[in-house]
């Protein structure tokens, strides 16, 4: 091929055109990102909702019905992205932000505190004030930090609990365990007389393990686990406290006595539920959110529930389940300001008794989170409602994400003899220390925030919302 001056010029022209094309598309992308808020102020109103995959087709259908009703009433459509597990929500939210994708409402739970303290959520206190009375005070507590509300519950209360095979227990003439000794006895009987696993746990989903610590720490701390945890996060207490180390040792006892094996780390939550439903395991420690899935599996036995047994024999110490609404709805601080009125209206609409009932009724609400929503009435309901007054908030709702991971690893290590309880506790303490030193972590984030940081999460105006009956 001949290389002529003309061909060089042509090539340069091509190069120039390419640069202009790419540059202009870049400008277009950037302009689109900057203009995002304006898109939603157009007549074609649309809200974007992000949340974890719904638990059943019935729940998805109920949400779709609510969206449809909202559109009929307020002429604004809601596009929901139901994706993955709840543990992936912070990542999805951050990815959406980086990609300049609008998220107007986010369904979160465990990471509510983490998201709020990172400045990712909008302070809802004033937005929700006109209809706050709909929510029983206890249901708002997990979403409240420093008196500020960061989300409103949209799902029923659920607690940690043991599910058990009532039919098998009756056949083996076993009593429902109230103490660790009774649980151990039942487990030994099950092991010696059947091929059934005494307890199954979906431990490859690492978030399952902190529930064990919360249950034992509630007792070893003398039923002060929440204030003690806050004291730990504020630096006033150590994770290596006697109560905390004892809580880890009490968990370790489950594997030392053969109630749990390392196989628990090879099964995820779905696998554990499947094993329980198939009758391969007699008991399963998990959350109430699994109840609809277990029932949908149509097990060939009756299901019963009991709280985590008493592991401490000190007078006055009682069993405390951990629990909260399974999920809440929050508004990201990055919401386009033009979308705020409609997003605020949506929160009001979805938490009105009529609409909330549509959603919560698909989740077998033993303990609804909105006044006016009908609870189910089955044999389990009465037992579950007994737990409510003694229920503690989930501790992993207030631990920072790094500490949650560290606690998960610590429990796995202690449970299966890879490290001592004290060494595991030290690793958690060190993690918090590192977080403080390297990332300036502070539990009371609001007090340390600058005025600019605060105003970034406060609604710039309080839109008027129409209150549904």
């Amino acid at each position: 091929m001949k290389i002529t001056f003309r061909s060089v010029w042509l090539s340069c022209l091509l190069l120039g055109a390419t640069i202009v094309m790419v540059a202009s598309s870049g400008v277009a992308i950037s302009t689109a990102a900057q203009r995002t808020p304006l898109v939603h102020s157009s007549p074609a109103c649309q809200l974007n909702l992000l949340g974890e995959t719904r638990s059943s087709p019935a729940e998805t259908a109920a949400w779709n019905k609510v969206f449809s009703d909202f559109k009929s009433r307020f002429h604004c459509s809601v596009v929901a992205t139901w994706q993955g597990q709840w543990s992936g929500i912070p990542q999805l939210l951050n990815e959406a932000r980086i990609a300049h994708q609008t998220v107007d409402i986010v369904a979160d739970g465990t990471y509510n505190y983490s998201l709020a303290s990172a400045g990712d959520l909008m302070d809802l206190t004033k937005l929700v004030a006109p209809y706050k009375s709909r929510f029983p005070a206890a249901t708002l507590q997990p979403f409240t930090v420093d008196g500020r509300l960061w989300a409103v519950p949209d799902e029923p209360e659920t607690f940690s609990m043991f599910f058990y095979n009532v039919t098998l227990f009756k056949k083996l003439d076993l009593t429902v365990p109230r103490t660790f000794a009774q649980l151990e006895h039942d487990a030994q009987v099950i092991k010696s007389r059947t091929n059934v696993l005494p307890i199954v746990e979906g431990g490859s989903d690492a978030w399952e393990w902190p529930m064990w610590y919360m249950a034992t720490f509630a007792q070893t701390s003398g039923n002060k686990s929440v204030p003690d945890t806050i004291a730990f996060l504020e630096g006033k207490q150590q994770f290596t406290s006697a109560a905390s180390v004892q809580a880890l040792e009490d968990i370790a006892q489950f594997s030392k006595d053969g109630l749990l094996t390392e196989n628990a780390l090879g099964t995820d939550e779905n696998g554990a539920v499947a094993a329980f439903v198939k009758g391969l395991a007699a008991m399963m420690f998990d959350g109430g959110w699994d109840l609809p899935t277990i029932e949908a599996g149509q097990p060939k036995f009756s299901i019963g529930v009991f709280p985590f047994p008493l592991v401490v024999s000190k007078a006055g110490v009682f069993v405390q389940p951990n629990g909260s609404p399974s999920e809440g709805l929050a508004i990201p601080s990055s919401i386009p300001r033009a979308d705020l009125p409609m997003a605020a209206q949506f929160l009001e609409f979805v938490s009105s008794p009529l609409e909330a009932n549509k959603i919560q009724s698909t989740l077998d609400p033993e303990v609804p989170t909105i006044t006016g929503v009908k609870p189910v009435s089955d044999p389990l309901s009465a037992t579950l409602r007994e737990y409510l007054p003694k229920t503690n908030s989930w501790l992993d709702w207030i631990w920072p994400a790094d500490v949650v991971t560290s606690v998960e690893n610590a429990i796995e290590g202690v449970l299966f003899s890879h490290q001592s309880a004290m060494s595991a506790a030290k690793s958690v303490q060190n993690e918090l220390q590192t977080l403080r030193q390297e990332q300036n972590y502070n539990y009371d984030f609001w007090a340390t925030w600058s005025k600019a940081q605060r105003s970034a999460v406060e609604p710039p105006f309080i839109p008027k919302v129409e209150i549904q009956k």
Binding site: S11, T18, V22, Q91, S204, E262, G271, K278
Partner: protein
């Protein structure tokens, strides 16, 4: 540019310039510009989508930043110091290297073995070739979920199979910290061996029969034929296959680890990418995550450079 022309095109730079009208500096310059113009669209994409994010990542790695705040706090080399002190990151790096080297060796050895076997005239050869290649078509997420259930200790096929063999010691495929990473690596090997097998089959089919005939006359046995005829003949494909396996293993291990174990138990399967993503998007420490990415980049670049040097030397020797 001359070096690039030499290495990439395999044509000496002087020869490129001597083809043009006349000779001299101007001509060479025009040839250079023309080459540059031809490369420019790709270069531009490379600059925008690789170099810019890389540079941006490097800058961010010197800051403390949650990824969203408008302000970033300058921390200098602190993120790097913290990363090098972080025991989980060090473990994740070790796992990454174990993963990359392990799967590279296994995929190539198994791929070559299968290729040699399926290069013979066997019954159902096409079926076996197709079956061997089939996992390549699955996404890592599908493979991960599939094998998680196969490895499930309660109702998984793996333990069932061991039971059928009359053995009663079931390894904790995904629960034993000493085994879990090997189990995850196996899934990568299972998925990609078929791809390497196809590469090797193509290479084996191109080896001239004359060479084997000559080796037979020289009295070479099976091993000698393999060692002195097959291997030297397919060396360029082996180099390519190893390069593809190694680079793939370093940068494409996130999905399978995330789906199968999430990095657990006790970080036993944590690789650098899962830890970096977790740090950036769950713990909101984007600056720190970028510092870890830069450290990983340097280490992978060193491995890549060593391998490239090794390959070029091999090529020079064979030339």
């Amino acid at each position: 540019m001359a070096v690039v022309a030499d290495r990439v095109l395999g044509v000496p730079a002087e020869r490129v310039s001597s083809r043009g009208r006349g000779s001299g500096h101007g001509q060479r310059r025009r040839a250079y510009l023309f080459g540059l113009a031809l490369l420019s669209p790709v270069l531009l994409l490379y600059l925008v989508f690789v170099m810019y994010p890389l540079l941006r990542g490097l800058i961010v790695s010197f800051y403390q930043w949650d990824g969203l705040s408008p302000t970033m706090t300058w921390v200098g080399l602190n993120n790097y110091k913290d990363a090098l002190r972080d025991p989980v990151f060090r473990l994740a790096l070790r796992n990454t290297f174990q993963y990359a080297i392990g799967v590279t060796v296994a995929k190539n050895v198994l791929g070559l073995g299968l290729a040699i076997l399926l290069n013979k005239k066997l019954r159902l050869r096409t079926f076996f070739r197709t079956a061997g290649f089939l996992p390549v078509m699955f996404s890592f997420v599908v493979c991960g979920v599939l094998w998680s259930w196969i490895f499930n200790p309660l109702f998984g096929l793996a333990d069932h199979f061991i039971g059928v063999l009359g053995l009663h010691h079931f390894p904790g495929w995904l629960s034993d910290p000493h085994i879990a990473l090997w189990s995850v690596m196996w899934v990568d090997v299972w998925k990609w061996t078929g791809f390497h097998m196809v590469l090797f089959i193509a290479a084996l089919q191109a080896v001239p029969q004359d060479l084997y005939d000559a080796a037979d006359i020289d009295g070479a046995g099976r091993w000698a034929r393999f060692r002195y005829v097959t291997i030297p003949s397919i060396r360029p494909v082996i180099a390519l296959s190893v390069l593809l396996a190694l680079t793939g293993a370093f940068v494409a291990n996130y999905d399978v680890v995330y789906v199968m174990t999430g990095g657990g138990p006790m970080n036993a399967t944590q690789v650098a990418l899962t830890y970096i993503v977790q740090t950036a998007f769950t713990a909101d420490q984007v600056g720190y995550a970028n510092a870890m990415s830069m450290i990983l980049l340097v280490l992978v670049a060193i491995v890549g450079a060593v391998q490239l040097r090794f390959m070029l030397r091999g090529r020079e020797a064979s030339a």
